[in-house]
């Protein structure tokens, strides 16, 4: 391959950031200074190309350090990894968090998605626009963007600020007000902050937990500084999102609010790593048998039996095999995985280790969305501590089992939660879904057999291994076994993550949350609609609260549990505006590969805008929506396009969003 590079020279900070990920260059061939000895041999090629999966981490490193990716920085990354610049450019421009244009160091993501829209994110945006200009304007000290769901829906409206530097810093404002978000004049350094001021300080931090300093632990390397940016009040601890915290009957949320999420000792003192020991005793086949017997099905949305997935992967002849924890959590209204990762990070590490053992995998990846700085920080810490105690690495607990985990951080793309898009994203390609077959079990990441599971699915494996599959299967109903997490937000008294055994109905869950409560005028609020399963799920009416929250129950009611979203909308919400927002979400998040989704989501949004403003022919537009929707569902490559019309369809048919239904005539 004879690649063509630009002649631009990277800044020192850019070079340093890249070298910190890739190590220093060996020779002139991979981006170092050209020396006479370089003329005697050629190197790079296959070896460098074999590290293509470091493209995404390298792009993050530059973006985190200087706030944007210059031509020279991209060129340097390409030289180091032997990647054609046109391809790397295609990857960088795929992600919302990267900028290829110079911009201020601080970027604020203001959520305008469903739960936040219901909590008046519009006026937050209006105030921001008035104070500092339109979203994306880059002449001030910081820039802001409207963002899809940030996974902080229980504290809507939410905003996350990220500031480039060494190390980068963040803050979370939720509920956000405009004064928290706008930095004080001079607060954002124009040039890089001095290293001393922002050294990886292990002091009190504003993010709810000062890192514990027990033992003579090695100096940690985490992506973000634990010291959050000044401005918003300190983020409440993770267990604030769990109203049931401390209840001894909890299974999945048992440790949340009980253990210190930064301490491995505390985790072990609370039953941590007992499941791994038990798993190692059971043997790989034994673990898979328990998981199969448990009846556990995936909690990421597709409800596929986990035992079957693992059995398929473990039996494949090809090696190495991989396991992946899908922590991309970007389905609007979903925040359970965040709470698990922040409140009990070691449980995710332990569960993925068991998955690695059962599937005979060489390596595990955690693919976490880019907008979860606190969860990232806590997982990085947890992995480092687990390595130091031989709970990861070679010969784990003296059993001869070798396994390690790497974290890969997404960069703002909902589609990168789709399992095959994750593979491409990890491999340093654009996060476009692959067509199936072949399925991940046969050919997953790096073309090898891969078992990929949602965070919540994996965490269920711990009680399964400890109690045994059959005992676990006795919880719940029929095909829906075990405990389930629900992400309740919107018009309820106590939003948050709730754990219930499968079998409760929507009304019972709403009661646990204190009901819809009273509005600001003191009158009892009326639930108008409940969005079940997120933007890819569907609406049910506020008077359909008898729907059982099981996979079968939801399906029989023509709904879906999806990722466990229960988003309650009362009468005060402008439903048609919410539908336009959902359409805009799918348009923004379509990868663009296939026509039904790439163009269909645009036409869907246009028709919904006309319907909501009363500017088109109502019947024609409803029929058009249905026709486009049917084709998206039937002919799209992946689940995004296939579900992009679900919520809109349910709003039309079930809620009567645009008036009574008539036979569509064209």
């Amino acid at each position: 391959m004879d690649l063509h590079f630009l002649d631009a020279v990277p800044e020192d900070a850019e070079r340093e950031a890249v070298d910190a990920v890739l190590g220093p260059p060996d020779s002139g061939w991979d981006g170092g200074t050209r020396q006479a000895s370089d003329l005697r041999f050629a190197e790079g090629g296959h070896v460098a190309r074999g590290r293509r999966d470091l493209l995404l981490p390298a792009l993050h490193a530059v973006n985190d350090r200087v706030g944007w990716i210059s031509q020279a920085a991209l060129d340097y990354i390409c030289r180091r990894l032997t990647i054609p610049p046109a391809e790397a450019y295609g990857v960088a421009t795929f992600y919302a968090m990267f900028s290829l244009k110079q911009r201020p160091r601080r970027v604020v993501h203001v959520c305008t998605d469903i739960a936040c829209a219901a909590k008046d994110s519009a006026s937050l945006c209006a105030q921001l626009t008035e104070r500092v200009g339109e979203p994306g304007s880059e002449d001030g000290e910081f820039t802001w963007h409207e963002s899809p769901c940030l996974g902080l829906c229980e504290r809507a409206p939410a905003a996350v600020s990220l500031q480039a530097g060494d190390p980068p810093r963040y803050s979370v404002a939720a509920p956000a007000n405009v004064d928290d978000i706008v930095p004080a004049p001079g607060e954002v350094p124009a040039a890089e902050a001095s290293a001393a001021a922002s050294a990886n300080g292990h002091g009190a931090s504003g993010n709810g937990h000062g890192p514990s300093l027990d033992g003579d632990r090695p100096q940690r390397r985490t992506t973000f500084s634990p010291e959050t940016l000044p401005g918003p009040a300190p983020e409440p601890p993770p267990h604030a999102a769990v109203p049931q915290a401390g209840d001894p009957d909890l299974v999945l949320l048992r440790r949340i609010g009980v253990v210190d999420p930064t301490s491995l000792d505390d985790y072990r003192a609370n039953g941590g790593y007992a499941a791994l020991r038990e798993a190692l005793r059971l043997g790989s086949a034994g673990v898979i048998r328990e998981v199969s017997d448990s009846g556990l099905v995936g909690r990421g949305g597709a409800a596929f039996p986990t035992g079957r997935k693992w059995d398929g992967t473990a039996k494949r002849p090809e090696t190495p095999r991989y396991v992946i924890c899908n922590a991309d959590e970007s389905e609007p209204g979903t925040f359970k995985d965040r709470v698990l990762m922040e409140g009990d990070p070691f449980s995710v590490i332990e569960a993925l280790t068991i998955a690695g053992y059962a599937n005979n995998a060489a390596m595990g990846y955690i693919y976490i969305r880019g907008e979860y700085p606190r969860a990232l920080w806590l997982l990085e810490n947890a992995i480092e501590l687990a390595r130091a105690r031989n709970l990861l690495g070679t010969d784990i607990l003296g059993t001869g089992f070798d396994f390690d985990i790497e974290i890969r951080r997404g960069a703002g793309a909902y589609i990168c939660g789709e399992e095959t898009a994750i593979f491409n994203s990890i491999e340093g390609l654009r996060g476009e879904p692959r067509s199936k077959p072949p399925f991940p079990v046969e050919r997953g990441v790096f073309g090898k057999p891969t078992a990929i599971n949602n965070v919540e699915t994996l965490v269920n494996v711990l009680p399964i291994v400890l109690q045994g599959g059959p005992a676990y299967a006795s919880i719940g109903t029929g095909r829906s076994t075990g405990p389930k997490l629900f992400c309740v937000s919107g018009a309820v008294e106590r939003p948050g993550v709730y754990e219930v055994p499968f079998g409760a109905d929507l009304r019972e869950l709403m009661e646990m949350c204190g009901g819809v409560g009273t509005g600001s005028d003191g009158r009892e609020r009326v639930p108008r609609a409940v969005l079940l399963g997120g933007a890819a799920g569907g609406f049910v009416r506020g008077d359909e609260l008898d729907i059982p929250l099981t996979f079968e129950g939801a399906r029989d009611a023509g709904a879906t549990l999806g990722s466990g979203v229960i988003l309650v909308l009362d009468e005060s919400v402008d439903l048609t505006a919410i539908l336009v927002r959902i359409a805009a979400f799918f348009r923004d998040e379509s990868c663009g590969q296939c026509v039904p989704c790439r163009v269909g989501t645009v036409r869907q949004e246009e028709a919904l805008v006309r319907l909501s403003q009363g500017t088109g022919a109502r019947r024609t537009d409803l029929a058009l929506l249905r026709e486009v929707g049917d084709a998206m569902r039937d002919a799209s490559i992946c689940g995004l396009g296939q579900t992009a019309w679900n919520a809109v369809e349910s709003a039309i048919d079930r809620l009567g969003a645009f008036g009574p239904q008539e036979e569509p005539t064209l």
Partner: protein, 313 residues
Amino acid sequence: MSTPVAIGAPRRLVEATVDGQVVRVPEGSTILDACEEVGTDVPTLCYGDTLTPRNACRVCVVEVEGARTLVPACSRKVEDSMSVATDSERVRHSRKMVLELLGSSVDLSTTPGIPEWNERYDARPERFGPRAEPAPMGEREARRAGEHTVGDGMAAETVEQPTKIDNDLYVRDYGKCIMCYKCVDACGEQWQNTFAIGIAGRGFDAGVSTEHDLALPDSACVYCGNCIEVCPTGALMFRSEYEMRQEGTWDEENQSQTTTICTYCGVGCNVTLHVQENEIVKVTSPHDNPVTHGNLCIKGRFGYQHVQQRRHD
């Protein structure tokens, strides 16, 4: 010329039905192959006879019994006892919508097959309303992933933008691009290994681009024109053809095609000269040629001026 002799074990045959008709094809064949075998016409756009299918356009979808969604005929392999329907209500609907969605967002005026398919599937792209104004040059490329301004819904958004004319040999009119990925694959690892172009951006705003949207002369492009060879829409076009079309002198009916051997070197690539009024107006290459599979280098593709130079002496 001798015919290539197949070596290796003969492939097992699999049996399936296409619209009720039994067909036996070698294992590994696609549904499209099976349809060809029984003489069923399936529209295709992103499928390329010399490339690995990307199954991106979805105009070739068919219904496979038992499958939840429709499947792309161009890439799905035939399995034993598969039952395929190519003209069911669902198939016709999705094909019609793909044609309408593309037709309403892309300039398909130079894409062969479109008028006939639109008629066959009763596709009326104008249903989505008047077309939005084309974007100014460079505006689409500058859009940030995951962000757009919601319009008023009164005009159908398109990908149209001015034609990129930055070199003497060929033009890129991405307002005609259906995002079939074929040029990218031909330029990259499937044929040319130059990697001058890639897909950039995301969703509706994605497009084919050099790094940082550089002009072709500043990019890695070597002007082999192998991207033009596979482009199904005329988005990539010889500058000569583009200019004749602008002047209204392009007249395909009155062109002759002569396949001959490139004189520049010993590889012996086949070149097909398209000649109108005794002038070479463009050069293609036969896709079934075992040496080149439709690929050429800059000399065979664009180096024909000396032939006509003689005439003016």
